[in-house]
Symmetry: C2
Subunit: 138 residues, 2 copies
Amino acid sequence: MSSELQDTLPPQTQACTPTLPGFTCGLDATLRLIAGKWKPLILYFLAQGGPTRYGELRRAIRDVSDKVLIQQLKELEADELVKRTDYKEVPPRVDYSLTPLGHSLAQALVPLCTWGTENMAEVARVYAERDSWKRGPA
Amino acid sequence: MSSELQDTLPPQTQACTPTLPGFTCGLDATLRLIAGKWKPLILYFLAQGGPTRYGELRRAIRDVSDKVLIQQLKELEADELVKRTDYKEVPPRVDYSLTPLGHSLAQALVPLCTWGTENMAEVARVYAERDSWKRGPA
DNA sequence: TTGGGTACTTACCAAAAGGTGCATACTTGT
DNA sequence: ACAAGTATGCACCTTTTGGTAAGTACCCAA
């Protein structure tokens, strides 16, 4: 990594420069917001699709349960990354979209997605190996 | 609505292509590798400092316990993101460094760190609000 | 000899995270 | 009439995660 690390670098005794409140560094702050099994996926999905209805999201993010999806959406909303719009219609209709803050975070997520795509074969291989010794040799 | 958003969306946010094994997309693949409370921090720290001895890492990443740090290092090693070097000296001496794969992942983490740094005030504010209603007003 | 440092390992636990299934109140399609 | 879809809420429970405290084997300095 080149030396234009926005945080620190000097004689470092810590992972990053501690700055505000309780965060050890910017990465730490970010990680707390996106901690949650599906949050990054939700953000990323919303970044791609714009306002999305609950049911659509639910179907898009495979294997998530209602309880957890709702829960994480609420947290994202409380964290001001996502905006919930309730149309107060009679069969319920609600949609979710990114706030500007959420949108910028989603952008920061893009490199991770790109990395995963580019290295998917590698990652899959590693996983295959792990799974095989876990279940015992052939 | 089509759920095959991946190929119909704006090229700049579009980096997610569902293809291989059990991953829904690149982001999903990446997230599985860095899932773990301290993993991103470990990767980021190693990216900054080069080969680092265990004890140094331990002291750099505040509040991590031996058990967990070791455990996550092992997983990172199994995932071929980190390389462990044991000098087999008499008072134990070991150090950890990034593999090329790990290094590229660490690069992808940089925007998250940057985002966190740039929006730290915002994030801190949001957290303060949450904490206050959680514990009741002063 | 006692104490500290090195890099771990293990047993035991508490808390957090996530999942399941049922319920709601109302509408539309069959 | 009845099933299905809509967006949740709630009680309950299992899995996962992380943490604590202790131990190991060895060396060096006081």
